[in-house]
């Protein structure tokens, strides 16, 4: 059991969360492609088969619809499946199960058949992956009622949010920012598990708020640091969960500061940022000194790795947006 405060990578924190959840609750089962002997291609399930046996950490045939569909049946019978999709774009074959069944079973059965399934999906770019290995697919999931959509940006949240997701009685799409897998930080596995759906202020500031999540959090923190040179004092809000969206925290913050930029690396049109910006505009209109802006990836299929740095929003693009926040007023 992880007790003391230790330095861990995000990948290790996720591994600890799975291990601790499996130790704490026999109904927790892990299944997916290569999760057994290999420990997953990112080693998130490393050692679980050795400790819990191949029934509780199951290498499945290579079929995402089959994996998630099987998890539905397992959950119907009282288990808590944790499913691994190997890469963002390889979850798409399971879309039918996700949208038509996982997301709707509670509703279709008038609450009699909830599905406590956690679907772990490594997502996003920045690691030089070829085609189909860098998609940011959160908008597909947030647009599907019945799913929680969660994405940690820190080592502690990777642990805490995964424990909370597995404990949730609703299905959770757990998006793992793969370019943060190898980042190290302190992890206290005994810290109380926070419920899903709360944003945290990672950095206070009076000039404008950067609202972000997952892989873009470190970029926003870097931008806030760089903004000091321009005389801007930027707050950074980490959403951690897109569904539910912590409207109260975001609204209070934006009302008090009056200027906001939403930052994410996925495509902007119809993206999560569009929803957030619209909502904040509705709720904060009279407190805003400028429209809520978005900084996102371009509206293009994810590019080849040698060009991805042009696509991913970086510090400069964020600072450019801050500069457009109508300071003259």
């Amino acid at each position: 059991m992880s007790t003391a405060v230790e330095t861990r990578t995000m990948a290790q924190a996720l591994n600890s969360a799975l291990r601790d959840a499996m130790r704490a609750d026999e109904s927790v089962h892990v299944l997916g492609e290569d999760v057994g002997a290999l420990g997953g291609v990112f080693r998130i399930t490393d050692g679980l088969t050795a400790e819990f046996g191949p029934e509780r950490c199951l290498d499945t045939p290579l079929a995402e619809a089959g994996i998630l569909g099987t998890a539905v049946g397992m959950a119907m019978y009282g288990l808590r499946p944790v499913v691994e999709m190997q890469f963002d774009a390889f979850a798409y074959p399971a879309m039918e199960q996700l949208v038509s069944h996982v997301a709707k079973m509670r509703n279709r059965t008038a609450g009699r058949m909830p599905l406590p399934i956690t679907i772990r999906i490594p997502y996003g770019g920045g690691i030089g992956g070829v085609e189909h290995h860098s998609d940011s697919s959160e908008a597909y999931y947030t647009h599907t009622p019945g799913l929680h959509v969660v994405t940690p940006a820190t080592v502690a949240d990777a642990y805490g949010l995964l424990r909370a997701s597995i404990a949730s009685d609703d299905p959770v799409v757990f998006l793992e920012p793969k370019r943060l897998y190898w980042g190290k930080d302190a992890l206290d596995a005994t810290a109380p598990v926070e419920p899903i759906g709360r944003a945290v202020l990672r950095r206070p500031g009076r000039s404008a708020v950067l609202i972000t999540y997952g892989p873009s959090l470190p970029v926003c923190l870097e931008a806030a640091e760089a903004a000091k040179a321009e005389g801007w004092d930027l707050a950074v809000l980490d959403l951690r969960s897109l569904v539910p969206f912590d409207e109260q925290t975001a609204v209070e913050l934006v009302r008090s500061v009056g200027r906001a930029v939403v930052v994410h690396e996925s495509t902007g049109f119809g993206g999560a940022g569009a929803e957030i910006a619209a909502r904040l505009t509705e709720k904060c209109f009279h407190h805003l000194a400028a429209p809520v802006l978005r900084v996102t990836g371009f509206d293009i299929p994810y590019p080849a790795p040698m060009l991805e740095h042009h696509h991913l929003p970086g510090v400069d693009r964020i600072l450019d947006a801050v500069a457009r926040l109508q300071w003259e007023d």
Partner: protein, 379 residues
């Protein structure tokens, strides 16, 4: 007829298949071969066409060198990733050789060598894995679909293309390449079913190399062979020694000709082995033993071919040397062209998203141009 009248139970089941009127009398042609079809090392090899043997040999040697050089380039950071087909060269070159120039190939991500063996420029075939562009070659000009990463998803495309060719009255055949793991995906099954129902001129070649990343075949399928999967869909399933280039070529040629002449689809399972790890990013020691690899090295496709050619006196120095020279020339060209970073145009991000760029894309292109100009000036 009253409810009590049960005589109808004795009546024959009405047939909804034209030929389902009585028990089958034909010798179950759908059932796959009991043991893998082989030519090399059997008496049949004596009758093999010497020119074909020489051609297969030459391509095997060049293909092996291609695999080695590409793997080296990953170690030097010149290729982002390379899923080597080392050990599987017989399948790759035979797949290419069994097709006519105007047939179509639908490769998966491990099939760069099949693509190259088909005549696509070796460097253009590698852009996906190098990381500079998704598909570096022209699919229409080369009649080769893009290297497909999401598993088995190209199989229905092959069916559709073959069907379209048939509708047009052309005798084009499509060949889809898959791995053993890919046969578990829904798309694989849907493709087989469509192909059989449409009688589409398509051939499916499954390169069963024992593993899907770490998962061995026993955890992938409980079928006696993967070729058996054909039976339920109503097409022949053939099992072949995937390291015997002559046998793979023979079985594929037969299947392609069958498809071309209106005989419908075939599923071919080639038994082979992945000598290297899944890709350079994989640690194969976690899931397989050295002894297993050693056994398969004894059954290497080039070794099998050389043994036969030597035994029959067909491998003279001239042939061996020509193959080696061609292989080294290709390797040298790869090294030279990968020595420097490719020239990339950032604005290509916005090309080819739509036939006509949307207004939003035009704005985003302008934004990137401004950013790049600012960067340039800051320098």
């Amino acid at each position: 007829m009253t409810v009590l009248d049960h005589r109808h139970l004795a009546a024959p089941v009405p047939g909804w298949r034209p030929d389902a009127t009585g028990p089958r009398t034909d010798p179950a042609p759908l059932l796959p071969d009991e043991s893998p079809h082989r030519v090399l090392g059997t008496p049949a090899a004596e009758k093999a066409d010497p020119e074909l043997l020489a051609e297969l040999y030459r391509r095997l040697v060049v293909g092996r060198r291609y695999n080695q050089q590409a793997t080296t380039l990953t170690k030097q950071g010149r290729l982002a990733v390379y899923p080597a087909s080392t050990g599987q060269e017989a399948c790759q070159v035979a797949a290419a050789l069994a097709l006519r120039q105007d047939d179509w190939l639908f490769p998966s991500y491990r099939d760069t060598l099949a693509v190259v063996s088909r005549g696509v420029d070796p460097l253009e075939a590698l852009t996906l894995l190098r990381g500079n562009a998704h598909t570096g070659y022209d699919p229409k000009a080369t009649r080769t679909a893009p290297l497909c990463t999401p598993l088995a998803t190209q199989a229905p495309h092959a069916v559709g293309l073959a069907y379209a060719a048939q509708l047009r009255g052309e005798d084009t055949v499509a060949l889809a390449l898959l791995g053993d793991g890919g046969t578990s995906e829904g798309d694989f099954h849907e493709a087989l079913n469509f192909a059989a129902v449409l009688n589409a001129p398509v051939v499916f070649l499954v390169q069963n190399n024992g593993y899907a990343i770490s998962v061995p075949l026993t955890r992938q399928s409980a079928a006696p062979t993967l070729a058996h999967k054909a039976v339920g869909y109503g097409m022949p399933g053939r099992l072949v020694d995937g390291n015997d280039a002559v046998a793979v070529h023979a079985v594929l040629t037969e299947a392609v000709e069958r498809a071309r002449s209106g005989g419908g689809p075939t599923l071919v399972e080639a038994l082979t082995y992945r000598i290297e790890a899944h890709t350079n990013a994989d640690d194969a020691t976690r899931y397989r033993q050295d002894e297993e690899i050693a056994a398969w090295r004894e059954h290497d496709p080039i070794l099998l071919m050389e043994r036969h050619l030597r035994g029959t006196g067909q491998l003279d120095d001239r042939l061996a040397q020509a193959a080696t020279e061609e292989a080294e020339a290709l390797a040298a060209r790869m090294r030279a062209e990968f020595h420097t970073d490719p020239e990339l145009d950032p604005m290509s991000l916005f090309a080819h998203v739509y036939a006509e760029p949307t207004q939003q894309l035009a704005e985003q292109a302008a934004q990137l141009t401004a950013e790049l100009d600012a960067e340039e000036q800051a320098r």
